[in-house]
């Protein structure tokens, strides 16, 4: 019986971990595109909120989940465009613009939500779980790994797709070169500015998709400030994973695991460990990662530096 309980606990925790990690995975993979091109976007927290809200609002109005996700991605791209205008064209400090974007994201979404939706009360339709044939029937882990919704599965696909795009296409090659030696890219006739705009917009749309996951496939309701630092966690995941998309998937899972464990612990206060210890774990882990992983040479060389044409 003991073994059985432990396995159930593990399965449930793992399922919750992946679920919790999903928005972080999207945001982190997106940020890898942005940072690989040499731009640090700390505004993804606000961008995720925008995605969460736009996705929620669209689905609430149209009843269509597909439209909700599409609108969220579009909103993310627009946010990215704004960020790129300020950081690439005006060459403003990327951290400062990121801070502004976070405030704008929090303010705008909360403002619009309170103006139009606060009295609606009801949530949006639930994203159905997709049971993968055979595998979902596996004892214990079937539930954990093969009865999630499509956006959760897609997070794995997106991580591998990102790796493919970054490391197996000419586009990804140029994008990575843009973050390392923009002059070498410019001399081949490709536009550094265009690539940075592109990378930022990819990053922002993925962050927005991660945000939309929260409202459309997780809690099914918009809550002010609901991203609750997931965007910042994603920034840490990027460093921790050494700018690798598949690495970011697994690092996010670790972070998700801590979230899930902390929730379990909150449900069982008898264990004597304060749940806050586990709650704080991802953040402490991130700092430790920065100290011990210590990977200056893995970072794109021109990260945070605006590109000036000669």
């Amino acid at each position: 019986m003991e073994h059985f309980n432990l396995l159930v606990f593990l399965a449930v925790t793992l399922a919750a971990a992946w679920q919790t990690a999903t928005p972080i995975i999207y945001a982190a993979v997106g940020e890898i595109f942005t940072e690989r091109a040499g731009v640090l976007n700390i505004g993804i927290e606000g961008t995720m909120l925008i995605g969460a809200f736009v996705g929620f609002a669209t689905t609430d109005l149209t009843g269509s989940l597909a439209l909700g996700f599409t609108a969220a991605i579009a909103a993310g791209m627009l946010t990215g465009l704004l960020f790129a205008c300020f950081t690439v064209t005006i060459k403003a400090n990327q951290v400062v613009v990121g801070v502004a974007l976070n405030l704008l994201g929090l303010g705008l979404t909360s403002f619009l939500f309170r103006t139009y939706f606060v009295h609606t009360g009801s949530g949006v339709p639930n994203m159905p779980a997709v049971h993968i044939p055979i595998l979902s029937g596996l004892p214990f882990f079937g539930v954990a790994l093969f009865q999630q919704n499509i956006i959760v599965y897609l997070s794995l696909a997106v991580a591998f797709l990102a790796r493919f795009v970054l490391f197996s296409t000419s586009f990804g090659l140029t994008l990575r070169a843009t973050g390392d030696h923009p002059e070498a890219v410019a001399i081949t006739g490709r536009s550094v500015v265009l690539y940075r705009y592109g990378a930022i917009m990819i990053g922002s749309s993925l962050a927005a998709l991660g945000g939309a996951f929260l409202t459309l496939a997780d809690v099914n309701q918009f809550v002010e400030g609901m991203t609750d630092g997931r965007g910042f966690i994603a920034l840490a995941v990027v460093v921790f994973s050494r700018w690798s998309p598949v690495g970011a998937f697994f690092v996010s899972l670790i972070f998700g695991l801590f979230y899930a464990l902390q929730l379990e612990l909150q449900a069982q206060p008898s264990l004597g460990i304060p749940y806050q210890a586990l709650q704080a774990m991802p953040y402490i882990l991130t700092i430790l990662a920065l100290v011990f992983v210590h990977n200056k040479q893995d970072a794109p060389r021109t990260l945070g530096v605006p590109y000036n044409k000669a």
């Binding site: 005006i90 405030l103 403002f111």
Partner: protein
């Protein structure tokens, strides 16, 4: 250094080419100091108005309610100043960090650290004379904030860890730790609500105006803004911090320790944020709650940036943002406009500041 010849200043000699340009440059420098922040605020308010109008509110009415409400009577003004106090303190501190190119995003966490330390020493220490005890509480808050910030500074100089990420992480750790403390070790006995024991009455900060809540914190904030302004622009140590922030190579050439400056700058900003937290406990809340800050640490960033990192300027930008947030509460009550509009305006202020800054650089160059 007795070799320097200090005669009475020679009469300013006029040179051919540049008297008109440098007058233009000086006036441009002045324009940047005052004109740009005002313009930035106007742009942001216009954006806020547009947002209101699009969503069917009468922007003029809303702003009238806000401003009119905040300045309706002495009581409402003092309530606004209670919000301005932490904003000015945090903003002033961030001016120091930003001047040294340390991107401290962690004032929120440092504020929490200060509040926790102040509560701890207020509740658990007995037998000191009240005035001394109050000073001790405020000092404890400042030291806790400085120490919390110094973690990020030390990780930066020893491990090259980005202070942007570490300060953000330290924010979360601080708020989570506070949540643990008020539900655990520091929780008031016999109460189910997560809060600490109340500070003794004697430890409350002196009230400035009778029949209001306005305490001496605002005076402390203004005095510190003046002191920090003097520190940055009139002291040797402040000069060294600024040189490190602008050009670390020149700093090294000048024999300034870049590492020491970096840690000093972020610790000063942490100390001021921690002090803000301690003042909030000793002056307004009198006990620790889970959520003692409505994002003061983040609004403080906008306060510093709008002041173009000048501490005296942070007094005005701090009050401006306090008016906006106090007004937004009234706005929500009276015109059903969500008070979070303030965050939108803050974000727009930062973007305008950045845009005007870039513009000013260009104008500065073409003037020569």
């Amino acid at each position: 250094m007795d070799d320097i010849d200090i005669r009475p200043p020679a009469p300013a000699k006029l040179y051919l080419y540049d008297i008109s340009t440098s007058i233009r440059i000086r006036s441009l420098q002045r324009l940047r100091a005052i004109g740009f922040p005002i313009a930035a605020v106007l742009v942001a308010l216009c954006a806020g108005a547009a947002l209101l109008a699009i969503n069917g509110f009468n922007a003029l009415d809303v702003f009238t309610v806000m401003i009119g409400g905040v300045f309706r009577n002495i009581h409402s003004i003092t309530e606004m100043l209670l919000i301005a106090t932490p904003l000015i303190l945090i903003g002033v501190g961030l001016c120091v960090a930003f001047r040294c190119s340390m991107w401290n995003i962690g004032a929120e966490g440092q504020y929490y650290a200060g509040a926790v330390a102040a509560t701890f020493f207020g509740v658990h220490l007995n037998g000191l004379p009240a005035p001394l005890h109050i000073v001790l509480i405020l000092a404890a808050g400042s030291i806790a904030g400085a120490a919390w910030a110094a973690i990020a500074g030390l990780l930066k100089i020893y491990f090259n860890a980005s202070e942007i990420v570490t300060t953000i992480m330290l924010n979360y750790i601080a708020t989570i730790a506070t949540s643990y403390l008020v539900t655990g070790p520091m929780m008031e006995a016999g109460v189910t609500y997560p809060q600490s024991t109340e500070l003794p009455h004697a430890l409350r900060l002196p009230i400035l105006l009778p029949h209001t809540r306005l305490h001496i914190g605002i005076l402390i904030a203004i005095a510190l803004a003046v002191i920090v302004q003097a520190f940055l622009f009139r002291s040797s140590a402040g000069y060294a911090l600024r040189v490190v922030g602008i050009n670390p190579h020149a700093a090294r050439y000048a024999g300034i320790s870049v590492r020491r400056s970096v840690v000093l700058a972020i610790s000063i900003s942490g100390a001021l944020a921690g002090l803000a937290g301690a003042i909030q406990i000793a002056g307004v809340d009198f006990r620790l709650y889970q959520n003692i800050s409505p994002g003061y640490g983040f609004t403080g960033i906008a306060v510093a940036l709008l002041a173009y990192n000048r501490p005296i300027g942070a007094i005005f930008s701090g009050i401006l943002f306090a008016v906006l947030s106090a007004g937004s509460v009234l706005m929500q009550m009276n015109s059903q406009v969500p008070q979070v509009l303030v965050f939108v305006i803050e974000g727009m202020v930062i973007l305008s500041v950045v845009a005007f800054g870039a513009l000013g650089m260009r104008a500065g160059r073409s003037a020569v």
